[in-house]
């Protein structure tokens, strides 16, 4: 689809998130994280029991760290919980479940989720703790692990620029997981730093074509 009705308020956008949902959140740490949307989710929604798919669970009291303090995260799927000591404590005290994936597998699984790939074999993690319970197969003499795609009910992404139909352009290393997550959710909500007229983004340089984007929100 595409963005139908122009930008909406963040509070309205995040009302798409229901208790029990799986939510992808872009960003590497807080860089490229959709902070306006996360704040709206923390302040204007009471959706709980969320499964969060994000490389990190924010920082203490910042970004996803807010939702963590509110006790609204049931499970995290990440490559690096360690960047938020409160997330580590929550896991160790049994308050949230944790699924840890190698960062490349995490990224590839999200891409697979958006690309209709139902599983892929990677050599990364084979023979380690992180392969436990997963199918292993030796391919061309090398042990591989079968990894499953990741999908979400809602993806929250941040882009520096977006046009009115929802084409997105990311800036520098704020790109990271955002373009992948935009492809892998039933509803993708894009927080945009600067909303430009349709036609202003160079079609060769659109990082996320609009067919992946459902709602557009201006950063605050």
């Amino acid at each position: 689809m595409t963005v139908a009705n122009g930008p909406v308020e963040p509070e309205a956008a995040v009302s798409a998130i229901r208790s029990g949902d799986t939510v992808m959140v872009g960003g590497f740490g807080l860089v490229g994280a959709p902070l306006t949307l996360i704040d709206a989710l923390a302040e204007a929604s009471d959706a709980a029991d969320l499964t969060i798919v994000s490389n990190n669970i924010g920082e203490p009291g910042r970004g996803l760290g807010k939702l963590l303090r509110q006790g609204r995260i049931k499970r995290g799927i990440s490559s690096y919980f360690t960047s938020n000591p409160e997330a580590v404590a929550a896991v160790n005290e049994g308050r949230i479940e944790a699924t840890l994936l190698p960062q490349g597998t995490f990224a590839e699984a999200i891409r697979a989720g958006g690309a209709g790939i139902a599983g892929f074999f990677t050599p990364v993690g084979a023979g380690t703790l992180l392969a436990e319970g997963k199918e292993e197969r030796v391919i061309d003499g090398v042990p591989h692990v079968l990894e499953s795609p990741l999908r979400a009910d809602v993806a929250l992404v941040y882009a520096a620029r977006g046009d009115a139909v929802g084409n997105l352009w990311y800036r520098r290393t704020a790109r990271n997981f955002n373009p992948l997550m935009a492809t892998a959710a039933t509803v993708t909500i894009a927080e945009v730093g600067e909303i430009v007229r349709t036609g202003e983004l160079d079609p060769e340089s659109v990082h996320t074509p609009h067919l992946y984007v459902d709602e557009l929100v201006a950063s605050r």
Binding site: M1, G114, A115, G116, I117, T183, L201, E204, P209
Partner: protein, 218 residues
């Protein structure tokens, strides 16, 4: 098959498209659709060789050898278009991001199986994006004549041509009417002009249910 009948099928198919949808159009009848869509219908055309936002055919001084569609015809790109590589393009298709694929077929079974890429005994050397599109698009609309040039029904109880995918057709539009897949079976839901149900039965191999809807205003 007259051009008029093809235009009729294309016109009916165009009515299936809704504002904001992303549509991939196969060769043949589906390619008549863009000129039938008015300006600002809000439908976005995707071509699997790497463009979302296909515009009208260029006039001579707009011709650009680097800008073609999947049928290798020159096209233009509309404002808001995006270019991407083939892996990304098929990730869009396979990942369910194309709302509608409109394509031709050699046969469609009454279970919605589609055969549209190969004829038995002939070369099976070109599949292109056919399989990806019928598997991946959220809605698959088949536009085809009711019978082949030698008079055989193309809606059949079982495809005899090599399959493209099983249970993939959501809507089948011929010059005689419209079938929709309901609970795993094609149901005749609409008759074209003064066509009668018996006309459709005699152009179809196999039995089907009839559940006529009011034809929406054309």
């Amino acid at each position: 098959m007259t051009d008029g009948a093809k235009a009729l099928i294309a016109r009916r198919a165009a009515q299936e498209l809704r504002p904001g949808e992303v549509v991939n159009l196969g060769i043949g009848i589906p390619n008549l659709i863009p000129s039938l869509l008015g300006e600002d219908t809000g439908v976005f055309v995707h071509t699997e060789n790497g463009l979302l936002g296909v515009g009208p055919r260029p006039d001579e001084n707009e011709l650009d050898p680097d800008l073609i569609d999947a049928a290798k015809r020159p096209v233009t790109a509309l404002p808001g278009a995006a270019f991407f590589d083939s892996a990304q393009s098929f990730a869009m298709i396979r990942g369910g991001h194309i709302d509608v694929a409109v394509l031709g077929a050699l046969q469609v079974s009454l279970a919605g199986d589609i055969a549209n890429w190969a004829v038995p005994g002939k070369d099976v050397l070109g599949v292109g994006g056919a399989m990806d599109l019928v598997v991946g698009a959220r809605r698959v609309i088949v536009t085809m004549t009711a019978t082949s040039s030698d008079g055989n029904p193309k809606v059949v109880s079982e495809c005899t041509y090599p399959l493209t995918a099983r249970a993939a057709a959501d809507v089948v539009i011929t010059e005689l009417g419209v079938f929709r897949l309901k609970a795993g079976a094609l149901v005749l839901t609409e008759l074209a002009g003064d066509t009668r149900v018996d006309d459709v039965r005699s152009a179809t191999d196999g039995d089907f249910e009839v559940d006529l809807e009011n034809r929406r205003a054309a």
